[in-house]
Amino acid sequence: MHLHRYEKIWLWLGGAGLAIFITLLAINAFAMGMQPPSDMQMIDPQKVDQTPPFDKPGLKQIGEKEYDAYMTAFAFSYAPSVIEVPVGSKINFHVTSKDVVHGFEIPKTNINFMVVPGHVNSASMTFDKPGEYLILCNEYCGAGHHVMATKIIVK
């Protein structure tokens, strides 16, 4: 099988670029800790209201400027409905669904993950700028999907 010289160069360059790229992704994920949200915790979606801590959704302060936010997603809203934290706070979101699949996204940030019934999913972010942050559902969940949103107020 004959391979043209230019094609060899082309494929070697492409292959090398690819190898570097994959290595960088792996380093980012495993050495720098930038793994995609992949919480392995499970929960019965029909008993979310009886399962602590999701029976009382809300903020729990765990450090000087660090909070755990236990939230539930359901058609077509989130609980708690508004969250308030001081500037510079880190929030660890832990979210689960009481019914169908939902999304959890804060536009223009890296907070973007799926909320799948039967599982808890988690991600963290530090809010360094004051303002109102929109949280929206980015997975189709039914007739009211486009109104499913809530807010974080950072003061």
Partner: protein, 555 residues
């Protein structure tokens, strides 16, 4: 004397029975496209705030119709019709009796399935979008219809395999025609890829939607769906590549760059498009980061056959342009048949594929994905892959295939209108998908009705760009109307004659390693890759199943 041989083989006409079968599939494909395009335009206008839908129809119902009609029905029917025609064309013009019988059984099975699913979508009983993610529960008839659509496509695939086996018997020791080889690779990919989908629908969704079992394992259903979902996009792409590798060289009066390398590209596509579905589930719980990374690495390997394809195409273009007298570094470029829609349409498709492939690398990267996941960026991405690169190539094919099958010709006049159609589609897609990519980076969600999230200032700032997106959709709809008009003309009214079925040839005899045609070898390698990529995580999802979800109707 090679030239003489080319002239002779290019006189082969697809015979009546094979043409009728192929045409039946193509008619359903374009009927489906015309309804889907109307839905698409409405979606853009709704999201731009230009129109409001009447109360008897909701946005998600239209969106389900659009995704099913274009993503599943248009593509599958066109592909089966096109592949059957090419199998006949490279088999002396005819399909075997067995192939025809399988073909028609497949056609009617698919049609019944499509009508069942469509009926439930129209009744608003299946507004679950074309991915039908559990625990959203559609009527059982929707799932049964989808299953029939898949089973019908399997039957059609068996017909093609029967034809290929018959060819092999009659041509002992010879290398199969490139078209047939590529078609069989596509059929193999489809057969393997749809198996997990069939398992999801038959063993999970149908019993659960019937009420025979109370709950469903949601994460498993999603894993099975995306086990199918990524090769689905290669099932769309490979027939377009057949058009590029096999038909385009003949249309521009050139030669196939390399028979062997074309086959290698197809083997790589078959192997590396399947064990990779977790790149659609990067933001999901219940799948460990290590498995996600393995799938990401395997996904990115498709860069290699893509680079090979790009090289082959431009090598063919340059060689042909130079043979026609093009001088200097870029002189050959002018000598390509720019006003021939059979070339122009797939060529623009190839150009779209350059940013599309780049976007794909971004989507598949496990960190970058957090920025774009489930935003309308993704919708922008697949409108330039399947909606532009693939769709434009299919239109370019339809413009010679339909008259070939109906014994008519692609006239100068029809060619001119078709060129206008392609320009409208390209400009419309460019505008719509640019707006979608831009909006996605702002975080605008996909699959979402008009919304300002209770007067949120950020959400309000998205509306003007959504209007731009809707404007692109308007141009696309105009283009779809032109397309249907030209195709009806070519099928019913154009002058009688022989429109060539372009099948390229290599420059002289080329050596192709026999191993490329040993399917058992490649299917075994594929099986090993699939077991490596999926056996452990799927076992895990079954053994440590999350508590199940009951069926819900939230629309």
């Amino acid at each position: 004397m090679l030239r003489l041989k080319t002239e002779q083989t290019n006189h082969v006409q697809v015979d009546k029975p094979s043409a009728r079968l192929s045409l039946a599939f193509i008619i359903v494909a374009f009927a489906s496209l015309s309804v889907g395009a109307l839905a698409g335009m409405l979606q853009g206008m709704v999201r731009g705030g230009v129109i409001h839908l009447p109360s008897w129809i909701n946005y998600y119902q239209i969106l389900t119709a659009h995704g099913v009609l274009l993503g599943l029905v248009f593509t599958t029917y066109f592909i089966v019709g096109f592949l059957f025609s090419g199998m006949a064309r490279t088999n002396g013009g005819s399909l075997t009796k067995t192939a025809l019988r399988f073909g028609w059984t497949g056609f009617y099975t698919m049609l019944i399935g499509t009508l069942m699913a469509a009926f439930e979508i129209i009744r608003n009983n299946a507004s679950v979008l074309y991915t039908f993610y559990a625990p959203l529960k559609a009527e059982p008839a929707f799932y049964i219809g989808s299953a029939l659509l898949v089973v019908g496509s399997w039957l059609a695939g068996y017909g093609m395999i029967a034809n290929y086996v018959a060819w092999k018997k009659n041509h002992k020791g010879q290398r199969s025609p490139l078209f047939a080889y590529m078609a069989i690779a596509t059929v193999a990919l489809w057969q393997v890829a749809t198996t997990p989908l069939a398992i999801e629908v038959l063993f999970q969704l149908i019993p659960w939607s019937m009420g025979w079992v109370p709950t469903v394992n949601v994460i498993l259903s999603r894993t099975l769906f995306w086990f199918f979902g990524h090769p689905l996009v290669y099932f769309w792409l490979m027939p377009a590549y057949i058009g590029w590798y096999v038909c385009v060289p003949r249309i521009i009066g050139g030669k196939i760059f390399s028979d062997a390398l074309s086959r290698v590209a197809f083997v790589l596509l078959l192997l590396f498009s399947i064990p990779v579905g977790f790149h659609h589930q990067l933001m999901e719980p219940g799948i460990s980061p290590a498995w996600k990374m393995i799938h990401v690495a395997l996904t990115l390997i498709v860069v290699l056959p893509s680079l090979m394809t790009a090289f082959s195409m431009f090598a063919t273009f340059e060689t042909t342009g130079r043979a026609k007298g093009g001088r200097g570094l870029y002189g050959w470029f002018k000598h390509l048949p720019w006003t021939d829609v059979r070339f122009f349409a797939p060529f623009i498709g190839m150009l779209f594929f350059i940013p599309a492939g780049t976007g794909g690398i971004i989507n598949a990267s496990n960190q970058l994905n957090a920025v774009v996941h489930n935003t309308i960026w993704v919708t922008g991405h697949f409108h330039i892959t399947v909606g532009a690169a693939v769709a434009l190539t299919f239109y370019g094919i339809a413009y010679w295939l339909v008259p070939h099958l109906t014994g008519r010709t692609l006239t100068k006049k029809a060619n001119r209108v078709a060129m206008v159609q392609i320009v409208f589609w390209s400009v419309g897609m460019f505008i719509m998908s640019t707006a979608m990519h831009y909006l996605g980076l702002q975080g605008v969600p996909r699959r979402t009705d008009y919304t300002d999230y209770m007067n949120n200032a950020e959400a309000l700032s998205w509306i003007p760009w959504q209007r731009v997106m809707g404007f692109g959709g308007g141009l696309l709809f105009v283009s779809a109307v032109l397309l249907i008009g030209v195709l009806i003309y070519l099928g019913k009214f154009a002058p009688k004659g022989n429109e060539e079925y372009p099948i390229g040839e290599t420059d002289g005899e080329q050596y192709t390693p026999a191993i490329l045609e040993r399917w058992p070898v490649w299917l075994s390698v594929l099986a090993v890759l699939i077991i490596l990529a999926y056996a452990m995580p799927i076992m895990e999802q079954i053994q440590h199943a999350p508590p199940g979800s009951p069926p819900l109707r939230t629309w």
